[in-house]
Subunit: 130 residues, 6 copies
């Protein structure tokens, strides 16, 4: 199981510091991490490679016109059971109205283990019920 | 526990037949049922009586400009843990991308017991964790 | 399956009105309902008939020295997976610190279907994992 | 929603008394109940009408060569998320090794509401995640 | 995300060996670990810094008058959704009657990954539903 | 907590590459890993040391006559709540009909963190409800 054989998780993050933390946490956990610096690029990648990505970690606040809530909706239109983890600087108050079902929201600051546990739990549930 | 002391569930439905079935099922189960025939009226009722309604049962397809997905988002903005049950004529394929977290979707035809179990489960979880 | 063959649920309630509602809801749902008007009597019944009762529905506020939180702890000492449903007039704010694990709290006013769904869910989980 | 438009649940039961109780409980709850008196007939029905049945309630002990554990496995081969409720006279000790994932086991005697809650919960989960 | 920006978990443990294992496991997972050697000190810390701690890992047996069950109840009175992980040398038989809802009990010996998964799961659920 | 004091997980795997990955992931997570290269040996080990093993990670395809589905059933006959994680090269389509309740299936390729999260979650649930 070389790295290119690991499940690939798409990270959507325009803050270099958080991007590095998320990338390192997922890579150490044995995932392959792909990075999109904007929501627009994330949607392009998801639509262009429908079977490449196995999960999504997206910041809610992104610089372009497409925020993290919208990226997640696009991902779920492609794969209805796509694992989704949101990262939020704020309190997460919008998650109950804007999040997709069966997703997890992490508030900053979070421990890397929270992220790894979140994406792993969602992936495990996904494989089990498909 | 007279009827006016029961939890009030808001039903958003413009099909008279389904409206009657949902109303009867909830009333027999001991709920008080309030009916809004359009998404616009539902939003007005939810915003005007923030503590009156304890749960939402909404059809996804509604005649006005506001569909069931949007009614649910409004309800969750007012109460983050508001119980939400969607009713859909179709396969429910949009639920993973358009539904709110911790909601339940019923496809027609459904048994009245499915509706009663769905709203009761969501209400019970809500009371337990608030 | 005559009534004496149905699972017996112990109701602990000193308010006659609530007692009647709970009794009727459980009986109509096919349970056998036994009533204890105080926490002390409930504890005596549970200890004297360790295999008779299959679940507990208890008000939190009781007139004697033993409240509903304590009745539930006694029940769980006898049977670690005993289904427990609390009934509370207040907001349920004490449940996270005083409730037992895997229990459900209903706030008044509640619909009878909430009670029936709550005890049935807990019983079903119990039989499934024992 | 006439009865023929309700979801049809297949009951596999060779004891007339239990058959009548299950049939009545499901019918009152708004389901359409179809009855197979043996595992062999149940498998024939499931394979011959792949979209007709929406859930299974099966006794574990059946007179023929096919027991309830095997009927459930056949149902899941046809529909991977098929709701399955087992009925057992004994303690359910075999469920952890012989049951299928995401199923519920009811031990006799059970209240009709337990059966209705069990099948409704499983159906609701199924519609939500498909 | 420097260490002082990570979520702080309060560890209540008077055994130096277990204390070191828990401290190291949480720190490697990216948490900041604060240690209280007694239940009394834990309660003082929790009450004095209501927003500092994000989760609790407590041994059940502690040398003072306040045991782990009581520390957890204090924590939940301050924050109703506070993540709670108990560590027990014994079989965990008291957890169903003395534990708080939505908590996890680890029996010694446990793998560090069990602890990290437990606290991460509870934190993730907490952020998602607040 | 020396390694021999950690929970021992039985790995059933005849592919040396996967065996090494699983062994390393569990050992780094703080588990003690025991390896059986065939289903027959796994069953012998489980029956000969009923309290030694705390969880099972088994490939579905094994060279002998006993496949991973059967190993898991044997383990659950010995301990009804035994944690079970299956590893599958294929799509997992057989899990809903051949898996045991409360198990997790991982499809290759998987990240080591998925395996660690899966077994830890199942162990934590087990200790909590026993």
């Amino acid at each position: 199981m070389n790295q290119h054989e690991s499940p690939t998780i798409l990270i959507v993050e325009d803050d270099d510091g958080i991007q590095a933390i998320v990338d390192e946490a997922l890579t150490e956990a044995g995932y392959h991490a792909a990075i999109a610096p904007s929501g627009e690029e994330a949607v392009t990648l998801l639509q262009g490679n429908k079977d490449k990505y196995k999960g999504l970690v997206t910041d809610i606040s992104l610089r372009g016109r497409i925020d993290g809530w919208e990226v997640a909706r696009h991902a779920r239109e492609i794969h209805p059971e796509f694992p989704v983890v949101y990262i939020s600087a704020a309190s997460g108050a919008d998650w109950p109205s804007k999040g997709v079902p069966n997703s997890i929201l992490l508030q900053k600051p979070f421990a890397p283990a929270q992220l790894v546990t979140a994406i792993s739990q969602l992936l495990n549930t996904g494989t089990a019920t498909t």
